[in-house]
Structure formats: structure tokens, C-alpha cells
Symmetry: C2
Subunit: 555 residues, 2 copies
């Protein structure tokens, strides 16, 4: 059911046999990027091979490896350079910088692939005895340092527990529309198995092809269609989590007043409370129909008001994705580079005349039963029109839909050419969206431009709610090759401070990880963080589970 690990890149995104498709227009693409960044030519900065990369010495002794082999199977206990390098980091920009540095400072000492809940519990007992840090690892697609193979000073070694051999659909309850599924299943395998029963889960983050159910829950993620299918916490009905103190199991109830909801404590626990082994999730019938279409707005604020009206009036979009003027312009231009079309150019020229330049594009996806889709499309068009939206048909949406899991493949070739690219995201109440948007954009742009270089800062709303929305920022810049990590950290810190100072959450769907843990005090308060620390301690008294990935550092 799962991808073979050796078909994947150890130091970049996704499958070795795939990449970002430029349709033979490579030179034009890179000229466009260079131009956007205000430079004539991009440098060549290829990644060193695994052979040319050093790893820290492996600290796993024969006794430990024997014990792990007995708990699982010798074929599922790995200390090879490839396995250690593949599991050293997630796939954030910061991670890629380090994976491409020629020298890994951190890597797991051993990687284990258990095949069952009992094997996970056995591995955790061994780790407890040997005082190992345990890093649960699903698809490894974290972009916030959620799977970094790093222990604390008290740990003898780091064990990465790869969950992807636990990938079965255990039960489908078609009446209650729930399924119980092992946590290490990848997105495509999960949806394929459910589709055979007429259902879908509908959790489709950009990492869909290379992330797992357990990771979605542990990081409290959201898929692109979360307006219809819900975020990870909404789809979660029950979970089993293997902890150093044994198995914690929540029960499957549609709702309950029997005290606090423990699902909501496990969801977002970032592997620091244990390893989610399987979960029961809410299903939906396979959609009969899907429509993806777009509107233009004359500005971001106007678009934001339209999205707010659409969600508050209860229209049934599965996705509403509103790009700001910079993102609309950048991706419009980018698309013209890879898919040049005289028709598009004429059409866009006409829109400029009609007062839609600058403009913001809103992409909407509606899916479900045929009648429902027809009804909701009509309602959405009416509300969008009343808010100044110009319907521009299905063209832009179709193109986006086709490439919706492909964007991460663009990062590696950018990194090969001296370009830095990162994303970060937040969410806030509607009344605060504009203020937060401006503050974060300013923080990113001014930090990058302080070096006297041009930066491209793009933003969109990808998830909207009754009371607020997410904001997602993408920024491109020329790397300062002498101080790549410092350059990145300066931007990340400035943006994160802007977020917490201006009423945003430090993450809407990427999760916590080492990157965001330092901001949890600001967001949850010292008392709130202590509540989490004590809850965690009840499950992992010695602090072996994924250290540093949730709680803020304490000196």
C-alpha cells in the first residue's frame, strides 16, 4: 500500500521520478524568477550527494539493535546512512538547507518500522530502558521541525519510529460513516481504500501524497478542502496512542459531556505524548460532482469581505482560496511563462481596462451530490457578485486543481539556483485579518529587504470559518550563501513575532515543532503551557517522546 522509501528523495521533496513540470520551458521559468528577484542570473548551488554528506556517528549498540529486532523484526531495524539521512529532518526550507549542507548535525541513531500497536509499545519500552529519545515519523513532511532527529542532553541516542508499515484500513462503519485506520497510511492509499467502499475522508493538504493520517492528527493539520471536510481535529472521532505508560484509547462518540475531550489533547500533541497507532475518522460519500471556478475582486479587502460573507451565509464551498494582488499577479505571470496563451493575455488585458487591475483571484471548489453542487454554485455566484466579484469561469481553477500537490516540487530546483523560498501561516478573527496581513507582510518584506535585496511576498486565504480565516504567506528571495540559516531565522523570527503581537496564532495548520515551540508561551500563557506539560508528563514521565517539538524551551 505504501511508497517504497527508496523511491523518495532523501534530501528534497517527494518521488525521485517526479518534479515540477515546466513543459520544456525551463529557461523561461528561471529567467522569470531571476527577474522577479531583481537579478540578471541565478547562481548554481546544487545539493551534495549522500556520499558527499557526513552524518554523526551512530550511537546504537548491538544490544539495543538486538532488542529492537526481537521486538519487531531485524528487517525493520535500520542504521544505514540512507535511512538515517532520510529521517534526519522534515521538509521545511530550514531542513532542506541542512540536508543540502554536506554535514548533518543530527540524524537518528536507529530507525525502526513497527508493524502493529503491540510492536510500537514494545519499542517504547526498549527506548524507556535505554533512555532513548523517540521521534515518531509518518511521511516526514513537517515544515516546522516536527520530526527533527534530536534528543535532549539526557538521551543516550535517538530512535526514529517510522509508522508507515502500519497502513491498513481496519474497519469501515458505513452506517455511522466512520473508519478506523492505521496511522502510517499515506493520503493516496487511504483515499483509494475508502473509495472502494464509496467514501472519502477529504483531508487533502498540499503534502497529501507524502504525509500520513497520524501526522495530520499529531500536527492538527487542515486539508485544502477543509471548509467541507473539516480540519484534523474535526474529522477525529477516536484514537489509539501508544505511550511510554501504555496504550491510551479514546472512545468513538458523536459528542460527549463526560469531561474534557481527550481527542483534542492528542490532536496537536506533535508526537510528544506518544505514537498515534490508529484513529477513527469521519467519512463522507464520494462526491458525484465537482466544480472549480474563480472570481476576480478589485482588491484584497474586497475579496476578504466576500469570503467572509460566503462562509457566514452558509454557502457550501469545499474550498475558497483568495490570493492577494501580489500572489494573483505573480502566479498569473508564472502561468503565462509555462503555459503561454494569446487568449489569456487578451482576456486579462480586457479585465485591466474594466478596472480589475490590480486584482485578486478567488478560487472556489464545490463538490458533493450533483443537485447540491448545482444549488451551491448558484448561491456562491450570487453572493460573490453582490460583493463585487467578477465570475471568470473554470479556467484558472482547473489549472490550479491539476497542480495542487505539485508546488513543493518547485522548491528543490529553486534551491539548486540560489533561491530561497519558504511559507508560513496563521489564522485570526475576521475583524483582525487586514491588520495581521499587513503586519506579517511588512515583517517578512522589511527583514529581507534590509539586506538591500528584492523579496517576493505572496499571500492568500486558504481556510475560512464563521469567525475568521487563515492567512498563508509564501516568500522568495535570493539566498545569502554565506549565512543562509541566519538569513532564514531572521525572517522567521520577525514574522513569528509579528503574528503573536498582532493577534494571530503561531500556526493554523503546519503545527508546532521546534520552529514554533518558542512561541507557545505567548500564545497559551505560562499556565496554559504548564497544563500541557503536566498532561504530557502523565503519558511520558521521562520526557522521551519527541523532545522539543511542542513545549517551549526552558532554561
Amino acid at each position: 500500500m505504501r511508497d517504497r522509501r527508496d523511491e523518495l528523495r532523501w534530501n528534497g521533496w517527494g518521488r525521485l521520478d517526479r518534479g515540477f513540470e515546466t513543459k520544456g520551458r525551463d529557461a523561461a521559468v528561471w529567467a522569470f524568477v531571476a527577474d522577479a528577484l531583481g537579478t540578471a542570473r541565478l547562481p548554481s548551488t546544487p545539493a551534495p550527494s549522500l556520499e558527499d554528506t557526513t552524518l554523526p556517528a551512530c550511537r546504537a549498540g548491538a544490544g539495543l539493535l538486538d532488542a529492537l529486532a526481537r521486538a519487531t523484526d531485524a528487517r525493520r531495524v535500520h542504521t544505514s546512512t540512507w535511512e538515517r539521512a532520510f529521517h534526519a529532518h522534515g521538509r521545511s526550507y530550514h531542513d532542506l538547507l541542512r540536508l543540502r549542507s554536506g554535514a548533518l548535525e543530527h540524524a537518528p541513531d536507529v530507525v525502526v518500522y513497527p508493524t502493529s500497536r503491540d510492536e510500537v509499545l514494545a519499542v517504547l519500552r526498549i527506548a524507556e530502558d535505554a533512555r532513548l529519545a523517540v521521534v515518531p515519523f509518518g511521511g516526514g513532511s513537517s515544515v516546522v521541525g516536527g520530526v527533527e532527529a534530536r534528543g535532549g542532553p539526557a538521551h543516550a541516542a535517538v530512535l526514529t519510529l517510522d509508522t508507515t508499515e502500519m497502513n491498513r484500513v481496519l474497519e469501515v462503519d458505513g452506517v455511522s460513516r466512520t473508519a478506523t485506520i492505521e496511522a502510517g497510511i499515506y493520503g493516496p492509499a487511504l483515499e483509494e481504500a475508502l473509495a472502494q467502499r464509496g467514501f472519502l475522508l477529504g483531508h487533502h493538504p498540499q503534502s497529501f501524497e507524502h504525509s500520513t493520517l497520524g501526522g495530520w492528527i499529531a500536527a492538527r493539520g487542515a486539508g485544502q478542502l477543509s471548509n467541507r471536510y473539516g480540519t484534523a481535529d474535526a474529522m477525529l472521532v477516536a484514537a489509539r496512542i501508544a505511550t511510554p505508560r501504555g496504550l491510551l484509547e479514546t472512545r468513538a462518540f458523536p459528542a460527549s459531556a463526560a469531561g474534557p475531550n481527550l481527542n483534542q489533547l492528542l490532536c496537536g500533541s506533535e508526537g510528544t505524548m506518544g505514537v498515534i497507532t490508529d484513529a477513527t475518522v469521519r467519512l463522507h460519500p464520494l462526491p458525484e460532482a465537482r466544480r472549480v471556478f474563480a472570481f476576480l475582486f478589485k482588491g484584497f479587502d474586497e475579496g476578504v469581505n466576500a469570503v467572509r460573507a460566503l462562509v457566514q451565509e452558509g454557502t457550501g464551498a469545499a474550498m475558497m482560496r483568495l490570493s492577494d494582488t501580489e500572489e494573483t499577479r505573480f502566479f498569473g505571470a508564472f502561468r503565462r511563462v509555462i503555459e503561454p496563451s494569446r487568449v489569456h493575455e487578451l482576456a486579462e488585458g480586457a479585465l485591466g481596462v474594466a478596472g480589475y487591475d490590480p486584482k485578486c483571484v478567488l478560487m472556489v471548489c464545490v463538490e458533493g451530490a450533483t443537485d447540491d453542487v448545482a444549488r451551491e454554485v448558484a448561491r456562491i455566484r450570487a453572493v460573490a457578485k453582490s460583493r463585487g466579484g467578477l465570475y471568470v469561469g473554470e479556467g484558472p481553477g482547473k489549472s490550479w486543481w491539476k497542480r495542487r500537490f505539485e508546488m513543493p516540487y518547485l522548491r528543490d530546483p529553486m534551491l539548486d539556483r540560489g533561491v530561497g523560498v519558504d511559507t508560513l501561516e496563521t489564522a485570526t478573527e475576521w475583524s483582525n485579518v487586514s491588520r495581521l496581513y499587513e503586519a506579517v507582510r511588512l515583517a517578512i518584506r522589511s527583514t529581507l529587504e534590509a539586506e538591500g535585496r528584492r523579496a517576493v511576498v505572496l499571500a492568500h486565504i486558504s481556510h475560512s470559518y464563521h469567525d475568521g480565516a487563515s492567512l498563508y504567506f509564501t516568500f522568495l528571495f535570493l539566498r545569502d550563501l554565506a549565512r543562509e540559516v541566519e538569513q532564514w531565522r531572521a525572517v522567521k523570527d520577525a514574522a513569528s513575532r509579528a503574528i503573536v503581537l498582532h493577534g494571530g496564532t503561531i500556526s493554523h495548520h503546519h503545527g508546532v515543532g521546534v520552529d514554533h515551540a518558542p512561541y507557545l508561551d505567548d500564545e497559551k500563557g505560562l499556565l496554559g503551557v504548564d497544563v500541557l506539560a503536566q498532561a504530557r508528563k502523565a503519558l511520558d514521565p521521562r520526557g522521551n517522546m519527541n523532545p522539543g517539538k511542542l513545549l517551549p524551551p526552558r532554561r
Copy 2:
């Protein structure tokens, strides 16, 4: 803004100037109840007055009372018999038995009404120093022992902290559709204040007139219209909770991946983690239109399938309330006693001929914008019809709607006549609804009938979800006057065991309290309970907050 406490019953439901309206047909009502319980005549069992009721000696010394007066105001610190008796218990059947027993075993030693967050914190500091148990008390309508004025062996006295002087709407954010409201506000005052701004919260439990926002959140409640407006955990955006370790404040985000959601730990915390002082909640526009209408089904299972289809197909009912055949018959007959009508009788006779006897009634409420209501009513009628539902118009619904907060007033006159009446509720997945329904009914009926007496056991579904539904049981019986509490406990224990054994949650919306705490080990597991215990300890290290109301007793 609030009801004056002295206008309320200290030992029964609601306002002294209100009661269950029998429209001059008192004798017929009681003859009907007697007949239903298989007896010729009901005994007279009036409640003793407050003057004839003994209370435990007050343990609050002058030093403590002085300190509390300085922290709040002398007029807000009470040790009168009336205040102590009013706050001794909630309003469960078990509570009423004890409030009518002539001798209260438990009562608070002092009752304090703080007016602000800072005053609450000051009171908690005093309680900490004096080693008092603190019982947070809103409307006091708990039916599961959630506000019982009882401390542990280590406590010098019991202080009940009445929140109802904190009853202001602090802020309405019309753009984000949220409001920040003090926790001690009663339902009607809250909705009145919001209505002036064009909004409603829509949380209308049966206790609506005599319960508070803080209580709804602390007990993780659900209103009658929760299908549209959400349960307490869904409406909660952020909260401030005063704890013995200081103020814990969650932030208002529409969604967040910044670790576990602390709102979901406070929601359902039953006063054991601190006192909720104010909360930010999601609002909805005032509905332009409302329709309440009913269908008949030929049996409960058929009705259950229809409700499931209606919710899974996404039709927009605010409420779907399906009575089983016994409840439909009992309340139909009861209604004919209070509102005799030849037209009804003829109509119901005709339905019997048409094969709808026995029958189950499904009441549906739809509200919202006029167009939306019209559209959803049509969709609901189509789906219900396709599932065997016979549309019977707006008559039964109108009558229920008018009396929807009135049923609790019926308990006191029943108790005056030797009749016992209690309710309990649960929730489970759709595939388990029938099994759980039968098991709980059998447990209640067989326990009551073991004494050789007839019992009336009624059930309905009141809240439905994508993946399951709640089940609500009402049972009437003749009290065994020599052993009233033991008789009640036998039924409660049998039903609770049936619930946990057959896949139900111990409560869907009543909460935990002393009645359900013993079942939390079964529901959450020892490890799950320990997580809650440790989280609680982070906020209340000495265990002073509402002891015994959430965590199971440990010996």
C-alpha cells in the same frame, strides 16, 4: 439583568410565581399519571418548609467572613439559611429528594457573589489560605450533582462561589460574529442583550431560563437547537478561567495548530480547574423565520434511519427530536388530558387505521434566513417522505415549542404526590443506536419492575450528528417512600452500567458531577483519567476546586 435569587424556589425548579400549567385540569392530570403507574390514587408527599429543614452547622468563622467581605463586599458574602439551602444542591431528582428530606447533610458554609474576575481571584486566594473547598455555582440547574456543596476530608469548610453577579456582555464583534460575555449571565438575559445587536447565541437547553453561560461551558452542554447552533464546545472561541494558580486565558482563533486546544480542556472541566469568569462565543444572525413541524414514523428504527439520513445528507434542521413509540403515546395522551380536542382524537384515530399505530413522532425545527428556511423545509420533507415519514403539519411542534422550557416544573408537583421522575442521557454512533437504546431501556425498566411496580420509560433522540446521535430517557415510577434514595440509585447504577457496557458515553450533555464521576474510568481509561488529573493539578495543586465533580473517586 439577573433573576433575583429570592424569587426562585430553594428546593425545586425555577420561579416561585411559575409552575406547570394544567389549565384547570389538575384532577384529570393526576388521575392520568396514577393510571399510567398502575395505581388508583397517588399519595400526598409534600415538601417540608425551610423552617422545618435542618442544615449542618456553619463552619465559616468571623475572620474568614471578614476577609471575603474585604475581597468583594460585605453584601455579597452570605451565611443565611436560605442562601445556604438554595446552594446546597443542584436540581437532579436525587438533589430534590434530599432538599425535601427535612435534613440537609451538606450545605455551603458561606456563599460569595463576586462581581469581577479580580474578585474571583481574590476569593480563590482566600480559599487557598483557609483550605476551603470551592464550588462554582451558576444557575445551579445541574442534574448530575455538579454543584453539590461538599468538600473533601482535608477541607475546613465549603465556599460556594455564585457567579451570577458577573453577567455583562463585555464586547460584541459583529464582523467576526463573536461576543465576549461574563459567565454568570442567565440564558434569557444573554439572548436579550445579543438580540439588541441583531445576533443570537442559540444555546437553549431545557434549563435555559435558569442556567448560565459558564455552566453550559463547564458541563459541556447542548441546547435544543444544537444541530444548527452547536454544542457548548463548538460555540466556545476563548475563555478566561480564574484558578488557584492565577488566570488562564485562551485566545480567540477560528482554528489553530499550535498544539492541543485548551478550550476543549476547560469545556467539561466541571469547575474542577477553576471558575470560568467570561468567554468568547460564536454568534449567529437573528433568524428571520422559524418553522416547527412534525412527521410520524411507523416505528423507532424507521425514525432513527430518517434522522440519520436527514443529518448525513446535510439538510439544515436546527432541531430533530424523535420520540419512541412509548414517549409518543404517553405525551399524546397527556396532551389530550390537558388540551382535550375532538379534532385531534378523530385525526389520530384515522392515523391508526392508516397503519401509524404504534407510531413515533419526529419534531423538526428549521430557522434562519427566510429563503434558507423555505429551501430546507422542502428538502427535509422530501428526505423524510422517502424514509417513510408522514408529514402531520405544525400542530404538535407548536405545542411542544411553547412548553419547551416548562417540563422541569412538572417534577415538583409529581414529587408532592409520591411520584418519582428522572432523566438520563447518552450518545453513540449510528450503528449502535438500537442496541444502546434497548439495553438502557431494559436496565431502567427491569430495575424498577423488580419491585413489582409498573414503570413508564420514555425515550427520544434530541441531538444528531454526522456519525451518531444522543438518546434521552425519561422514567416515571412510584417512589418507595421508605428507601427513596436507594431506589433511585439502583436504577441510576443499572442504567449507567448498561450505557458504559453498550458503547454509550456516560453523558451527552448533562455533564459529569458526582453522579457520573465513578464511570469516567470506564469511559476514558485509567491513563486518560490520569491525564485529566495531572492537567487539573497544574491549575489547582491542592485539589480545592469542586472536589469529586469530575475525577472518579480513588481509595
